[in-house]
Symmetry: D2
Subunit: 342 residues, 4 copies
């Protein structure tokens, strides 16, 4: 039985708290949010204690593990505090928007050697996980190319956009991690972004559509397309091309009903609308993976370094987009990278 | 909060008990099985009381409702006992194999006017339910024809076959109910059965494959095909043809992965293996529907009469199969029907 | 080079004539139709001679083979005349509506031992033919069940219906032949028909929808559904269930375009509208098969006896529909059959 | 009736000659190839005259139009010669590998104002053409992104690779034209290439896999992926994302058969193997478009300038690949472009 506190009771935090509450190997001890209302509502709904502060939650000896779902800027201090308190840590992505702070965080927590997992939920999606297992089992031989389509149904509010770190850091970071999980280390990044959906996003200094190409150390090429708008829902697809064939992961729907009508046939349902619906099973499996790691004292995956690497790719994509050059990750030292990026 | 006892802790009973235990509107009070081991295991796993007898379980004033998942032959006496005790009743299909006993049961419980629901779980499958709602909403106009494909992955043991009442009563009864839910009352049944899978099933006096045609009072025609073997899994499909088009419900798979290889393309996963996997959501939705009916004192559907009508269709199919004639349901009185059948 | 005359320049005859004209192994010598306009138009379009009469066309020593696409009632005399003239014969289905006349025809031509092929075009559809080859190669083991869906986009004029011989003889006869091509001889037929589309068809003494079950000598069961109306086009599908799996032949579309929109996804084109479009390749392959048979002096398939057997099944279905009994084909002698049917 | 000569009797030339020979609006007058055997075989097979030289073929007053399917290096002189002779010109892609020569060719033929069409056959594929018409009709609103997957089944011989001009000029040039046909003028190109299939291709100075991103003047982004190997056949797919939805063009197969087996379901045929099979209808429609243009004295599309623009994109991609920069097409003047490229 792993005992948890959940920090952050926004949409994602509440979902995680509910998943923890119904997990048979978990005891949810407390929840915290700086907003009284959110914290109280979550605590009451799940019948758990509301912690008075993150410090109190993290110093509780009855707590083994913390799930961090607070705003991004607080991730690093909370990770450090939790590591000091000896807690296992499951932190929502991204670790931080500033790679310098992530590197410092890494150094500060190194001595405590905490169990840390970063919430790249898509790795745990049953379809993507099955596809990856089949790739690893050699069904299509060596991986040569990957196409990742990842499109949100509608843009978030501009207020969110402004604090998001930009499309590459907020949205495509999931796809960078997915790419790494399929082809390993990336050595080159080439990115083109555009404002195609909402001029306001452009005025806020961000883009709302992008196409990125990655080159892996293995030689494989990866394409990622993102858009902040997708009329037909939350488009989440994957194509992995190997020497022996292609494995494809398609979108998902609530039912298998097909309509065959006079002017169109084989019409399926809309696809699942957004991440809460699409990745329901993935979020639950993510929790289970982390709980198992805590129970067995093993390293969960994706770990801190995966969070760091995804951030480096987001940085590289942002640089490529703004400079019109492809960015070589293998030629940049840590410091050089930092100065070169943002 | 509806308080339940579960009678029968076999595979189906355990599944229902677990669904009840996790339903937020339900308190599972007790479980019973004539086999100590099954009853104890279920009681312990769910942390509920093991009732000493059905009588004790049903006389418990803390119990509002009973889920009956015992062997078919005990359904009628347990329904009567539960009705007398004033409990709401959710009984697994079929009510009984003998229509005479079902009619007597109906008469005996009439005075108590109990809430009774029969466990035709497929009505609650999200895909089939969505298809039916779209049919009812008029998307394809008047229903003209229906094709129901319903095939088990492998035959049950011969010991099960011998007590099952035969393919029409044990297996196709679900499809008869599905047909009724789509086209209403049936007036004519024509059935051809065969032994194609296992000669032992034939020696046991049963068939293992059948094709049946129904004619509805509305005029619609319905085809049902059943087989006790299906190499690719638990085939559960539906096609509904109307004047404006066709709605189709396809099989379901664990993932959306497709393999494109040198000698074959677009290959999907095996379909979900059997009813526990395929109808997970349906069983949960069935419980919810019943709980709502109990809470709101409304009639759940499918009710006792639906169980009776499905049995009449199974009887008619068996008669048609053995006589080589189509059987007209609208021309037979209650008594005539009884003597004519079995 | 096989030299042809084409008798009948209606829709089907013109199509065959055009296919013959472009076949590299064929010389189209002449065409005939009792309607001057049709005959002239076809002769001019293809640059061939217009025969003055069937007798003239069939007595032409420069003609090796005849394609008969005249009204059904003329098939038997033309087959006999062609056989006497020593021509190879490709005759549109059905041979005749009256099995007695077909049996007489068989006897009359027996002495000439002509090459005769009946135009069950669907056997030559590349999809159905590939499916059948895979079944024959054992991919799914022994065939246990077959489901044939065959639905016309819209009913023909009532004038056509009145002379058609009825749905079983005019429309389902194709499916009877398809069933035989997949499972071999049929021993039992059970049919339910209905008037669901146009009451005028009922007033004309015919039905416009039917569901039929066949039992093969092999034990296999076959379901056929027909409708004279299908809102989404010319529905032509096949499912063959064997001990090792199922092979399915789906509908066909002009393009592979899919639309993914806000309220529906993966929408495909309408299916190919009617037989001329759907079976374009089949009609061409049918000609090729016949030409090869003529060139190599081998028996083409489907032959005269296949036309006879399909007619026997149509008769049996009509009898079953009108009597409410299943009809056993293996228990009826030739004469008995004739009196029993119609 | 348009009278043609065909120059070049290799695989593509023979196919075009056969298509011309069977086109009802075409008279194929002569064919030429520098190889006697190829020329004779084609001339005999189609029953046409073998021209003694290109000069003779092009000076023939009985010839209205020329189809040029000779090696790329001869395209420019033959176009010029044909223009001088007043013939309409249908030239296989690419016009030339050297943009300077293409610009000179343009200037030299300008005075003759010939009808010129470049053989980007994919524009005439019924599926791609239907998709484009639907995009133009506004079904998905403004086009925001496009994903083009275009993968050959197997690499050509190294001898071919060496003279091909490289993957961007030989293979992806089709996709550049497809991109332009969907989103109009391109302003920026970013390319990553790799040697993933055959090291020999790398030693020959070429790549065998590439991912390219284009930015259109409209703002739209386009991704193209190419590979010289595709285990499952000739992968030719298109996804067009607009503000209202997505239109997708899938691969094509010979039949619609699906296999449902114990370990995999819904398996389709291999996709059509290579361009001759996949684009049969496209090549025929291309001829028809050109013939109509000649008959009606209208400009065929794609024209000379489309050939030029596709070449500019191939040049830009090659530059981007070798420099690691994205190449801006709108900032380079004609001369600058030439010096900057290659």
């Amino acid at each position: 039985m792993v005992r948890f506190t959940v920090l952050g009771c926004g949409r994602i935090g509440r979902m995680h708290a509910a998943n923890l509450a119904r997990h048979p190997g978990v005891e949810l001890v407390s929840v915290f949010d700086i907003m009284d209302e959110a914290a109280n509502a979550t605590a009451q709904a799940l019948g758990v204690r509301r912690a008075a502060s993150t410090a109190e939650a993290l110093s509780d000896p009855k707590v083994d593990a913390v799930l961090i779902a607070t705003p991004t800027a607080t991730h690093v201090p909370l990770i450090i505090e939790a590591a000091r308190a000896g807690k296992a840590i499951l932190c929502e992505k991204p670790i931080d928007l500033d790679i310098e702070r992530v590197l410092q965080c890494r150094d500060e927590i190194a001595g405590f050697d905490p169990i840390v997992m970063i919430g790249f939920n898509r790795r745990f999606d049953p379809t993507f996980a099955a596809l990856r297992r089949r790739v690893e089992a050699g069904e299509i031989g060596r991986v040569e190319q990957v196409v990742i389509s990842s499109r949100d149904p509608a843009p978030p509010p501009l207020s969110y956009i402004r604090g998001s770190g930009g499309l590459f850091h907020d949205m495509m970071i999931h796809d960078f991690d997915m790419a790494r999980s399929l082809v390993g280390d990336i050595v080159e990044v080439s990115a083109l972004g555009a404002v195609l959906v909402d001029p306001g996003i452009g005025e806020a200094g961000d883009i709302d559509a992008a196409m990125v190409t990655l080159r892996a150390a293995s030689g494989a090429l990866v394409h990622i397309n993102n858009s902040r708008r997708c009329a037909y829902g939350y488009d989440q697809r994957l194509e992995v091309f190997g020497e022996k064939g292609m494995l494809l992961a398609g979108n998902q729907r609530e039912t298998t009903v097909e309509a065959h009508l006079a002017d169109r046939t084989a019409c399926r349902d809309p696809i699942l609308h957004f991440f809460i619906q699409r990745y329901t099973d993935a979020y639950a499996a993510e929790i289970s993976h982390f709980v198992t790691a805590v129970e067995t004292h093993t390293r969960p995956t994706p770990g801190f370094s995966d969070g760091l690497e995804a951030l480096r790719l987001a940085d590289a994509a942002a640089t490529s987009h703004s400079t019109g050059r492809s960015v070589r990750l293998d030629q940049v030292a840590g410091e050089a990278l930092d100065s070169m990026m943002r």
